[in-house]
């Protein structure tokens, strides 16, 4: 089980509070999208769950407090897709995906044939075989994002944290990346927490949205509940029209008076 419970979580950078006393529960297999204006603390929450930043309060995954896990155990439980993954020039896609096996190796350990088989399967699953020996610096934006997902998937962690999966992608690639993540979530029974800027997409793919403002939770619920014109006007200072589309989610469209 990989349900996630945040209880009274606060994070401060150099004494400056970024996340304040946050309570949030994410069910196993759920997709929760974190939304909120810039600086609301979305990335920081992801970093706290992956224990990349120290926090106060408690975060439990599958009933176990993350602070009590070794860093390798955290890495076997939580895979992180950062907003702008560093793609070392000259490194091949296969080599990059293989790094995802690191949490399953000893400190000076070497990948076994099982690790290599897992990498091969992940590469196939994301249809990256043709690109396996291509250097990362010669990939397109969409291909890079798929390589990054493959690396995270190779970790075989039940929880996937994603920071802005679609920034710098065109609308078609945004859709295909999110569809891919959603398919993988169902296949591998992943719990997904994604920080997202694009509100319509955030609502379309997530089971629930959590709206963060100034490090606090302003609203949690379905897209229809959270994405309302007054809430967006108040928290984003944006003029929008919210349209309920039959069976296709909630569209948030900027308007100009």
């Amino acid at each position: 089980m990989s349900d996630i419970v945040l209880a009274g979580v606060s994070v401060a950078y150099d004494g400056e509070p970024v996340v304040r006393d946050l309570d949030l529960t994410i069910a196993s297999g759920e997709w929760l999208s974190l939304i909120g204006p810039n600086g609301a603390g979305k990335t920081t929450i992801l970093r706290a769950i992956a224990r990349l930043v120290s926090f106060q309060g408690e975060i439990r995954i599958g009933g176990r407090a993350v602070t009590e896990l070794s860093s390798r155990d955290v890495a076997r439980t939580v895979a992180v897709l950062v907003q702008e993954p560093q793609m070392p020039a000259g490194m091949t896609v296969a080599q990059y995906v293989l790094l995802g096996r690191a949490p399953h190796l000893g400190y000076l350990g070497k990948e076994s044939s099982r690790d290599r088989r897992i990498v091969r399967d992940v590469v196939r699953r994301l249809t990256l075989e043709e690109l396996a020996s291509r250097p990362l610096d010669r990939l397109s934006g969409g291909e890079r994002q798929r390589a990054a997902i493959a690396r995270a998937l190779a970790q075989q962690a039940p929880v996937l944290l994603i920071d802005e999966p679609t920034s710098s992608l065109d609308v078609g690639r945004q859709q295909s990346v999110l569809e891919l993540i959603d398919q993988l979530r169902k296949e591998q029974e992943l719990t997904v927490i994604a920080a997202m800027h694009e509100l319509t997409l955030a609502g379309q793919y997530a089971d629930r949205l959590a709206l963060l403002v100034g490090g606090r939770l302003a609203a949690v619920g379905s897209a229809a509940e959270v994405l309302t014109e007054p809430a967006i006007a108040e928290h984003y200072r944006a003029q929008v029209k919210v349209i309920q589309m039959n069976g296709s989610g909630t569209a948030v469209v900027p308007v100009r008076n």
Binding site: R47, A50, L52, S70, S71, R72, D73, V74, A75, R76, V78, A79, V80, V82, P85, Q86, P88, A89, G90, M91, T92, V93, A94, Q95, L98, L99, G100, A102, P103, L105, Y107, L108, G109, K110, R116, R117, V119, R120, V123, R124, E129, E130, A132, S133, R134, P135, Q155
Partner: protein
């Protein structure tokens, strides 16, 4: 474009292309280059000694005692020392470049050279010809100086930035090196009688090489090379961003610390017996990156082999070009190395840089 057949269900699992591995061809080429350069190193010298005699000597056959003596007490130890110094400088350079994610990092980055130079200069100027426990004081002083400089840089960098950033450590190294260099220059200028000796030490040489020097540095070199070699996979992981490496469960700081300590130990040891030999730590790993690939699983082992081969050859050149005098080996490594490196960069168009 490369295509991979996705085999039918019955076929054995296809090996995925693009996995990092050291190809036997390159490992073989490295070993061959090392063997060939050792051959050249042993055969070149003022007294002609044939290949047959060398082989006879090695297998314990009957040879002229004079020639056997030249081989055992001069040429063999010198070639072995060249292997140790070259291999260590190259692997330490590759390790520093990986840890600091900086292609210009060399083994002297944290002040090892400045410290060694100061130690050696003090020893040459104020305690010439003395020895401690049967070991010449100059390499000992150089070793201590190198260790002191790097420890100082490390302590300074840690107190300023808490080792969060590699930049703080590098800047601390720069500051310490400048400070040590200024004292070294002062001593060198005021002690005019030893200036020539100091100068020749600084430019690097394997002249005094004997088995003593080899035995003196062997434990440190072995420790350094083995430790770095074992971390080659982790050095690849360090090329990712800080959060990404950490989220893979890799203890980034511990990896950095161990690799830096190992590389520094090796550098301090070889700089103590060879002086500061420029360029090997930069040119050898980068040439391998350009020609073979950037994975540290390839760069680390090949750096040892080709670094050793390169230095043994450079040393052979250093003692023949102006025979019977000798050129400082650092002059040769840069004079031969720079044009070669430029040629490699041009021919590969530096695509991998």
């Amino acid at each position: 474009m490369l295509s991979i057949k996705v085999g039918a269900a019955a076929a054995p699992p296809a090996v995925l292309a693009g996995m990092p591995r050291l190809r036997w061809g390159w490992a073989g080429a490295g070993l061959l280059a090392l063997a060939a350069s050792c051959g050249v190193g042993v055969l070149v010298g003022p007294v002609h000694i044939g290949v047959g005699t060398v082989v006879q000597t090695l297998v314990g056959g009957a040879v002229d005692p004079g020639q056997a003596n030249i081989l055992w007490s001069l040429r063999f130890p010198r070639v072995v020392l060249g292997v140790l110094v070259g291999g260590t400088l190259a692997i330490a350079g590759a390790a520093y470049q990986g840890v600091f994610r900086n292609p210009l990092a060399d083994p002297y980055l944290l002040g090892a050279a400045a410290g060694a130079n100061l130690g050696a200069t003090l020893a040459i100027a104020f305690a010439p010809g003395t020895s401690v426990l049967g070991v010449n004081v100059v390499p000992l002083a150089a070793f201590v100086g190198a260790g002191a400089a790097v420890s100082g840089a490390y302590a300074l960098g840690r107190s300023v930035t808490g080792l969060r950033s590699a930049t703080g450590l590098i800047l601390a190294g720069v500051a310490i090196a400048a400070f040590f260099n200024s004292i070294q220059s002062y001593v060198q200028q005021t002690q005019t009688s030893s200036i020539r000796q100091v100068y020749s030490w600084i430019l690097g040489r394997l002249v005094t090489a004997g088995w003593d020097d080899v035995l003196l540095i062997l434990p440190y070199v072995l420790l350094s090379v083995v430790a770095i070699y074992l971390h080659r996979r982790l050095l690849d992981a360090l090329t990712l961003g800080e959060d990404e490496v950490t989220s893979l469960g890799i203890p980034v700081r511990r990896v950095r610390l161990i690799v830096v300590v190992a590389a520094t130990l090796g550098t301090a040891a070889v700089v103590a017996v060879g002086g500061t030999i420029a360029f090997v730590g930069i040119i050898v790993p980068h040439t391998i990156r350009l020609l073979v690939g950037r994975s540290y699983r390839v760069v680390i082992p090949l750096s040892v082999l080709f670094g050793a081969a390169f230095l043994v050859l450079a040393d052979a050149a250093a003692r023949t070009v102006v025979a019977p005098a000798e050129l400082p080996i650092g002059v040769i490594t840069a004079f031969l190395g720079a044009p070669f490196f430029i040629a490699v960069m041009r021919s590969t168009r530096a695509a991998a840089l």
